[in-house]
């Protein structure tokens, strides 16, 4: 479904992603693991088109030079030059790290904005109801300003927003970051529900542990370079991986 071939991303002279190959097949949940500043966020932003947007902006400003090289194929189509909104239309939707929501809008409005590109309002309504069924706690918060919700609730809104956009490929950037164990459990549970919707998921995480049982395959990157990839079982069997990313 998604095929990334020898992707390299430079911020000025700094290499953020180095010659990375990664593929996601339809219906899978794929995890990208790595410590902080390993290049996970850059990778996922590049797939969502945000890095390209930033590159354009920096070009206009004459600021730092961002270089993106390599092939990005989505359903055998080159998406390397598409803007973020065109990628959303194609079905690649990103939920950024640290639960970014529209803080001054009500929860319901947030979700409606998720379906911004969908013209059919009835469809949006249906998707929103679906989100409420995945995250029941949101039902009670419909009219509350998102900025006043707790971090866990905001994460639910953020994922919900992405779901309303009807993604084929959902990108989740550190969905568990900074969440309490109880909240992590809810998000992991939601992941199972999302899978049932036939949405393919690519997610990044620092600590693989809570999410590991639910992924099909995983990639481990370090300093922008892919150091290992494999199925869930292969990764679980590797003692090095376990000590570095599972904290055992």
């Amino acid at each position: 479904m998604l095929d990334i071939k020898s992707l390299m991303v430079f911020y000025e002279n700094a290499l953020a992603v180095n010659n990375l190959n990664l593929d996601v097949r339809k219906g899978e949940i794929v995890g990208v693991f790595g410590s902080n500043s390993a290049g996970k966020t850059t990778l996922i932003n590049t797939i969502a088109g945000l890095t390209l947007h930033l590159k354009w902006r920096e070009q206009r400003k004459g600021g730092q030079r961002i270089t993106i090289v390599g092939a990005q194929l989505f359903e055998d189509e080159d998406i390397g030059k598409l803007s973020p909104s065109e990628r959303v239309k194609k079905g690649i939707v990103l939920c950024r790290e640290r639960h970014p929501v529209f803080r001054d809008l009500a929860v319901e409005e947030n979700l409606r904005l998720g379906g911004f590109l969908i013209k059919n309002q009835a469809k949006v309504k249906k998707s929103i109801d679906l989100v409420y069924s995945i995250f029941p706690p949101l039902t009670k918060l419909k009219t509350r300003k998102a900025g006043l919700c707790s971090g866990g609730e905001q994460e639910m809104i953020a994922i919900g927003m992405a779901l309303v956009a009807r993604p084929k490929l959902l990108l989740l950037d550190e969905p568990l970051l900074g969440l309490s164990p109880a909240m992590q459990a809810i998000v992991v549970q939601a992941l199972k529900d999302i899978r049932k919707l036939e949405v393919t998921v690519l997610l990044t995480e620092q600590y693989a542990r809570p999410i590991m049982p639910h992924i099909d395959r995983g990639f481990i990157i370090e300093n922008g370079t892919l150091i290992m990839s494999g199925t869930q079982e292969e990764l679980m069997d590797n003692p090095e991986v376990i000590s570095a990313y599972f904290g055992m």
Binding site: S35, S37, R144, L148, Q154, L177, G178, A182, Q206
Partner: protein, 255 residues
């Protein structure tokens, strides 16, 4: 009890747009103690710290520090009487070399007096020493690099170094471990233990419960701004409210 009260918080409240972020929280920190604050996201942990350190003014309630009322004190004054905090989101000075970051706290009235000498260079040596204490390799280029180019884990430790440079009596740490790698966390825990041994006190917000329990001897659990539990780590973990609100059903497998 003949232990001396260091910090006494009574009935602290703070509203944000009609939502009670901190709702009538009281606790006491005795000298030689350290407290861990846990709770779900948005339960008011950071707000509580902001209220204590003066970054926010409480709607009601009082904060007593060494018997003096410091409710709503200006943040820099709080630092100068010995309460130093770290930020959850790192806030370094990105356009300076890493060690230069510490010149600012070293210039504060609290520390300035203790450092003899003039304006050039004298503080640099102290700053580099401090960075070494929190695990920056002295021999490497890292302390001299531009802060903006450092990995996140280093920024977190820089944040810790800034707190330590202020020689605080009360160290307030807001999710220090979030964003650190496993090995970084492992190497930071002994530093915190050493700080406690030096006779400093600590308040710590943390999600990494296992590490937290090694360091603190008392836990407060918040939920929706209210204090729902207080006690030793072991006690708190047994409480039903804490399990429901914070740990969830999979508590045992995660913590």
């Amino acid at each position: 009890m003949n232990k001396k009260e260091l910090l006494k918080v009574t009935g602290l409240c703070k509203n944000f747009g009609g939502v009670k972020a901190v709702d009538n929280v009281s606790f006491t920190l005795y000298e030689g103690e350290s407290i861990g604050v846990i709770g779900p996201n948005g339960s008011g942990k950071s707000t509580l710290i902001n209220l204590i350190t003066g970054f926010l003014k409480p709607d009601s309630g009082t904060v007593l520090y060494k018997g003096k009322n410091i409710t709503g004190i200006a943040p820099y004054k709080a630092v100068n009487i010995g309460i130093a905090r770290s930020f959850q989101m790192v806030r370094p000075f990105y356009n300076m070399e890493a060690y230069k970051n510490l010149i600012v706290p070293l210039y504060s009235p609290r520390v300035k007096k203790q450092l003899k000498g003039g304006s050039y260079g004298d503080r640099d040596e102290v700053a580099i020493q401090l960075l070494e204490d929190v695990g920056f390799e002295r021999e490497s280029q890292i302390p001299y690099k531009m802060t903006g180019s450092l990995p996140h884990g280093y920024l977190k430790r820089l944040e810790l170094a800034r707190v330590l440079s202020l020689e605080p009596d009360l160290v307030v740490l807001d999710e220090l471990f979030s964003g650190m790698s496993m090995s970084e966390v492992a190497s930071t825990v002994p530093i915190l233990e050493r700080i406690l041994k030096e006779g400093r006190n600590m308040i710590m917000i943390e999600h990494r419960i296992r590490e937290l329990f090694r360091i603190v001897n008392k836990i407060i659990c918040l939920n929706f701004g209210k204090k729902i539990a207080e006690g030793t780590p072991v006690e708190v973990m047994q409480m039903k409210e804490v399990k429901e609100a914070y740990l969830g059903s999979e508590a045992d497998s995660i913590a």
